[in-house]
Every structure is written in structure tokens, then in C-alpha cells.
């Protein structure tokens, strides 16, 4: 038994306001051997990630939460009341602590401008619902990219077969952050100014201004 090669089970946070879709994504992820947490809103996702809206726009992380919660990937629905998946994505990418967690967006609607906007904001993938096992199979590379090189070396054989449920150490936190930003984002990202005012982004709600 190769105890030394025992892998940490990756933890995915799934965000969806639909109870049916939460059940579905949970099952899809479990089937792919991920440890899953589901929440029903962007707000709860941020809370889970240890993000507390402190004073104004300063994100305050409670260290205790940060150590307990280790999330390797976030998969979120786009259309949600209150905070949309896009809003959540933005908040995550704006956060120094969270920005390296890969984010995947799901949507029931195939709207190219929506898809592009999400990818430009840093989403790794955009899945059309209903999400299939084949889609979930695409998540692994995104998770692996954020792991340190050392971990990658151990795992370069058949990772898929041997995922064992072990306690996740806070090893990912010690992972040097600098080598992660070697662009997992699409190349169209470069040259796009992170326009914080984003006039085209009207709160992410589907309400149109007449």
C-alpha cells in the first residue's frame, strides 16, 4: 500500500440557489471524488470562505476560518437573486486571499456576452446547464494548476484512481502564490483594464433599465 502517495481529497464549494441543481452538482462532484460543500447564495459562499464585509471595502479574513476551510475550486450558478455568480466571481478575484481559487460558472442560458464577461473576469470555465459528468471531469486541471509544483510532482501519475478521503492539511496555504499566476486566465485578459466602475455591469440583476 503506497501510503506516501495518499492524496488529499479536493474540496469544491458549489453555489446555486436552486435546491435541485445543488443536489445535482453535489452528486456530480461526489461521483468525481470531490469533497463538496453547497451553499445557496453568493453571500453564504463568501461567508464560508471566511470573507467578512468589514469596514467599507476592506475584506477582513478571520484566520480561524481560513485555516479550517480549504477550498480548491468554486463552481457557481450565474443567475442568482441578490449576488449573481458574476458578482461572486468579481469579489473573489478582487480579494488577495481568494483570487487564486479557480472559479467555474454555470448557466442555463447560452449568452455569448455573458460567457465572455465571465471568462474575462477570470472564470476558468463556463458550463451550460444541465451540467454533466463530462463537464465535471474538466475541473481537475484547474485545481491542479493552483497546487504547488511539489504536489504536482507527486501526483503526476493516475490521480483519478486513487483519491482517498484524508483530512486536508493547510498545505495549500503554504503554496507559493507567485508561481500560480502564470496565467490560467485566458490570454484575452491581458490588456483588459480591470475597470472597477464597470458601467455596463448593472448590479448583475436581470432588471433592465428602460
Amino acid at each position: 500500500m503506497g501510503l506516501a502517495a495518499a492524496e488529499a481529497q479536493f474540496h469544491v464549494l458549489a453555489v446555486d440557489d436552486s435546491v435541485i441543481d445543488r443536489k445535482l452538482i453535489e452528486m456530480l462532484l461526489k461521483k468525481t471524488s470531490y469533497h463538496v460543500t453547497t451553499v445557496d447564495s453568493g453571500r453564504k459562499a463568501l461567508e464560508f470562505l471566511g470573507w467578512n464585509e468589514g469596514n467599507s471595502d476592506e475584506a477582513i479574513f478571520s484566520p480561524k476560518n481560513n485555516q479550517e476551510v480549504e477550498v480548491n475550486l468554486i463552481i457557481t450558478d450565474y443567475c442568482m437573486p441578490g449576488m449573481t455568480g458574476y458578482d461572486l466571481l468579481k469579489k473573489i478575484k478582487e480579494s488577495a486571499v481568494l483570487r487564486d481559487i479557480p472559479v467555474v460558472i454555470m448557466s442555463s442560458e447560452n449568452v455569448p456576452s455573458r460567457i465572455n464577461r465571465c471568462l474575462e473576469e477570470g472564470a476558468e470555465e463556463f458550463f451550460l446547464k444541465p451540467v454533466r459528468l463530462a463537464d465535471v471531469d474538466k475541473l481537475k486541471p484547474h485545481i491542479m494548476k493552483t497546487m504547488g509544483k511539489e504536489t504536482l510532482n507527486h501526483e503526476n501519475q493516475d490521480n483519478d484512481k486513487e483519491i482517498v478521503e484524508t483530512e486536508i492539511q493547510s498545505q495549500q496555504q503554504q503554496t507559493p502564490q507567485s508561481n500560480i499566476n502564470n496565467n490560467k486566465r485566458k490570454s484575452m485578459d491581458e490588456g483588459l483594464s480591470p475597470d472597477r466602475t464597470r458601467p455596463r455591469y448593472n448590479n448583475g440583476l436581470t432588471v433592465m433599465s428602460n
Binding site: S18, I20, S108, P130, T206, V207
Partner: protein
């Protein structure tokens, strides 16, 4: 033919017809594929959630369309949700009805919406009935000592 065989054949024939008649599409098969020994009730659980959610949505839709001033955006939001959930479980005819319904919402066509609601209810209760029959057949097969055939 012994009873298990008969039931299994019934199940397969019924499942196939549901697919051919457009009640359930490929997504339902995907759900079945996800079910396994460690989650033996997965499909049933998801479908139960769908039933609860749908009935709530149908009530919300009826209420929303009864308002003095109908908020079509609100109606559309409900239909959008219904479209999503029906699509997630493979209830194709329900989903298609939702698509039509959304068009009427966009046009702010109250009559169209009201008609769609009726049709949507009809389609929903039809598929609910079919699914309940399907589950009943599965139970009967298992109770008779057989295993439920895997379709597709």
C-alpha cells in the same frame, strides 16, 4: 415469463415510451447514471425536490398572474426557475412549455401567460404521473427480487 421478467419488460417499455414521447429526455438518463449503491435513492430524491419546487412555483405563478397589475418580470423569474429545474431533471415537455411561457412574459401578454400556465400545469402533472408510475414499477421489481434494468 416470471413476474420479475414481466415487470422489467414493462419498465423498459414504459421508459422507452417516455423518452419517445418527449416526456423525459437524455438528462433523466444522466440522473440514473449518477445513482449507485451508496446513493440508491438519488433519482427519487431529486425528483421529489422537483415535485415540491414545481408545485410551489405553479402556485406562485397563479398568484402573480392574478395581481391587479401583473409584474411580468416576476412571472418570468418564476418561469425561468421552472425551466431550470425541469431541464435539470430531464422533464422536456415541461421545459419546452416554459420556453413558450417566457416569450409571452416578454411580450407582457397576459392571456398568453394564463394559457401557458394552464398548459404548464397540465404538462407538469402528466410528467409527475409518469414518474410516479416509473418509480412504482421500480419498487415492484425490487420487491419481487429483481434488479431495475439500466436504460441506454
Amino acid at each position: 415469463m416470471e413476474i420479475v421478467g414481466q415487470l422489467q419488460k414493462q419498465f423498459v417499455d414504459f421508459s422507452t415510451s417516455l423518452n419517445h414521447e418527449g416526456f423525459l429526455d437524455e438528462q433523466y438518463l444522466q440522473l440514473q447514471k449518477l445513482q449507485d449503491e451508496s446513493n440508491p435513492d438519488f433519482v427519487c430524491e431529486v425528483v421529489s425536490l422537483f415535485f415540491d419546487d414545481s408545485e410551489k412555483l405553479l402556485n406562485n405563478l397563479a398568484t402573480a398572474l392574478q395581481q391587479q397589475v401583473v409584474d411580468f418580470k416576476q412571472v418570468d423569474a418564476h418561469v425561468h426557475q421552472f425551466k431550470g429545474s425541469s431541464s435539470s431533471i430531464g422533464a422536456q415537455r415541461v421545459k419546452n412549455m416554459c420556453v413558450a411561457f417566457r416569450n409571452f412574459c416578454e411580450e407582457k401578454n397576459l392571456d398568453g401567460c394564463l394559457r401557458c400556465l394552464q398548459q404548464l400545469k397540465h404538462e407538469y402533472f402528466l410528467v409527475k404521473n409518469k414518474l410516479e408510475t416509473l418509480f412504482r414499477l421500480e419498487r415492484q421489481i425490487v420487491e419481487a427480487g429483481g434488479t431495475v434494468p439500466v436504460i441506454g
